[in-house]
């Protein structure tokens, strides 16, 4: 049995973490946390960290002892420099909380790239974990809606780089902009995206800790994640009726199933595919045909099949990317954003010059 640590930082990280805890109960019921039992196969410890107490209070399925409040008024207001300072002064408190939970085999750090708290705490936590322990630490990073503004774009660009430099064993990308298709208001969109991420995380954890034959394991996952540019994403599709497994695999690899916009056959470098369902739906020929198609264009594909009586087919694919055109676009947008911010700053500066001009007439009276 694996010992898994999942940390959610900032509002975005907290909410995805809560969604994972909720989905782990299996039912969508409000009372699940009272009468239900979480169906983690592994020993999963979850920790939510935030400077904003309201974000922590809103969580419903995460135990109180798993919510760590770092007192700093109401968040750090998207200011990453401030966030880093707050983390430094509270580092020991957070690390002690992790320490006392014992040994782990793998860790995930969930965060948005663009906010203040999560994006600044996450690289620093990862660095601390890597310094202190030797288990792999993966991050799940949420990219902002592009219209959220220049500040968020900037933050995303810097924090992503910092996470990469922190020693993270891989970054799993999820893009709000790409997943926006969920529709509805922001809150519904967030909930939908969080549920998507949570379901994929649970499926992944489940398949890492499987004792059955023909399955992938933690070793496979590590190998997949170490390929490419350290960036990855996840594709997933779950049939809700009798659908040929080939279609399910295809949908998992399409924009319907991915968390980040990418052309799998062009940009992916390694992949791990886990197929689950009743034996009668899992046509081995179809599966082999589709897996071969993928490996012929990207290289090695780890494959696992989990037989579940009576279940419609479900497919999860973990892909590492050797290039990410979408991310490049984001970075160039970020550079633009930085320039705009600079301009703004100099405008403020020149405004200061204006103030100087005005102050020249201090003490004078107009004479007519």
């Amino acid at each position: 049995m694996l010992n898994v640590l999942v940390i959610g930082n900032g509002q975005c990280g907290n909410r995805i973490l809560d969604a994972i805890n909720r989905e782990a109960f299996g039912t969508g019921s409000k009372y699940a946390k009272i009468f239900g039992k979480q169906k983690f196969k592994s020993n999963v410890e979850t920790i939510a960290v935030n400077t904003a107490i309201n974000d922590l209070k809103e969580m419903q399925f995460t135990k109180a002892k798993d919510r760590i409040h770092i007192p700093h008024l109401h968040g750090v207001g998207a200011n990453r420099n401030l966030g880093k300072k707050v983390f430094e002064s509270n580092k020991e408190h957070i690390m002690r909380n992790i320490e006392k939970r014992g040994r782990f085999d793998i860790a995930f750090v969930l965060t948005s790239a663009s906010g203040g708290t999560g994006s600044s705490f996450s690289p620093l936590i990862i660095k601390e974990l890597k310094d202190r322990y030797d288990f792999p630490v993966y991050s799940v990073v949420v990219l902002p809606f592009r219209e959220e503004g220049t500040l968020y774009l900037q933050n995303s660009a810097f924090s992503l780089r910092e996470i990469r430099e922190s020693g993270s064993d891989g970054i799993i990308l999820a893009d709000n902009q790409f997943l926006k298709q969920m529709g509805g208001d922001v809150k519904t969109a967030y909930d939908g995206i969080n549920t998507m991420i949570a379901k994929r995380m649970l499926f992944l954890l489940d398949s890492l800790d499987s004792e059955m034959m023909m399955v992938t394991d933690l070793g496979d996952f590590k190998t997949v994640m170490s390929g490419g540019a350290g960036l990855a994403t996840i594709g997933f599709y779950q049939a809700d009726q009798e659908v040929p497994v080939i279609n399910v695999i295809q949908r998992a690899l399409s924009s319907q199933g991915l968390l980040f916009s990418t052309n799998v056959y062009e940009e992916a470098s390694r992949a791990m595919i886990i197929i689950k369902g009743d034996r009668k739906y899992l046509d081995i020929d179809e599966i082999s045909q589709e897996v071969e198609k993928l490996s012929s264009s990207i290289g090695h594909v780890f494959k696992g099949i989990v037989v579940r009586d009576g279940e419609y087919p479900q497919v999860l694919v973990v892909l590492t990317l050797e290039s990410a055109s979408e991310l490049e676009r984001l970075y160039s947008a970020a550079v633009e954003a930085i320039n705009i911010e600079r301009e703004k700053k100099s405008r403020v500066e020149s405004q200061k010059d204006m103030d100087k001009a005005f102050s020249q007439i201090d003490g004078y009276e107009p004479s007519y």
Binding site: K33, I34, L56, K57, Q60, T62, K63, A64, R67
Partner: protein
Amino acid sequence: MISGKKLIATIFIALIILLIFSGTAFGSFKVDDPTLTQGESYQINSYLIEATLVSESSGTADIRIYEIESVDDFNEIERKMLDVNDTLTFDFQENGEVEVKLTGLIGRSTLDRAELAIYLSGYSRNDIHISEIIDYGDDPKFVGSPDIKITKEADETVEIGEPFRVTVRAENVGDGKAVDLEFTDNHGQGLSIEDTILEDKGPMSLDAGDSKTILIYELKATQPGEVELGTTTARYYDEAGNRFDSESDELILDVEGTLQKADVSISHTVESKNIERNSRLDGTISLRNDGNTAAKGLRVDIELPPGVEFVSGDDEIETRGGNPSIYIESFSQRQQIDVSYTVRPTDIGEYNIGANLSYEYDDGFSDTPEEVNKEATVEGITVIEAWYDFLLEYPLYVYAVPLVIIGGIGLFIIHRQKQYKF
């Protein structure tokens, strides 16, 4: 067996005997057979038989009959010249009749004498108190009728509670002496005797024309309005032994002022008449003084039947030996209070809860306080089984097990919820 003839004879004899004994009333008897010298008289009670002219030589005697009206007023009612063995009769008082018979004459050198036999009928011998010869020139004995007039004197208007004096005087306004005179006095309703200053109710005698103060006492009126002073009566006899009675006039007094009174009303209610066993029942006792003075030592004993336990009550309630009671030292006029208590019936059944009120007050003039007792009972309180009572009829585990399970679930829920409370 007594034969029919013998029975008739017995009745006859009995009638004869009866006649003999009642002869005093109906039959005639000889009063006397006096010998009267001319000019002398024979008096029987208030009648005078005078021999005026007696002549042995002519063999006659002139007899005159007088009724004595007063000492110097004689009234001739009969006169007859009798030969020897002749008779004269006259009415004697109401129903009586006197027969005077000239039985003989005795000639003498000076005045002749007449021998008489006097019979009386329709009158009792016992009622004859004078029967004697009156010498010539002497007055006959006169027996007048006494008449006792009783006067009661008191102020006609008196203050309530203030003593006033009553004087009772007796005067013999008749013409004869009253003997064996005795008085009875009744001071009347709504009046109480305070002090007796003089008391002489007899027996005594009182000569005609004399007067005497027989009673002086002080009374106090105990109620306002018109009060009747009781009458004084006298019983007495004339010298002849006739009985008389007199009574004083009625006297109405006007009593002014008001009486002080504490008039506490009690009402007693319970919140429900149908309750479950072992549940609590609240009762209220309301007291109000509508009188014009304070009630003292007011006390209400709450009478709980067996099977009903006292639980608690307002400050006014104290319990002595398990019996709750309300005690209020002084409960002034127009004061009102609601006292609540709580009881718990422990047995099913039908109950009454009593409340016995007692208090005293000073009516403003009486020496001893007035005592008042009242009661207010709530009847027909029905105590039924509580829904959980049936549990008690089962062994402990029957309900303890589910309770433990429910409790366990509750604790579990609380524990879980606490885990998620941030």
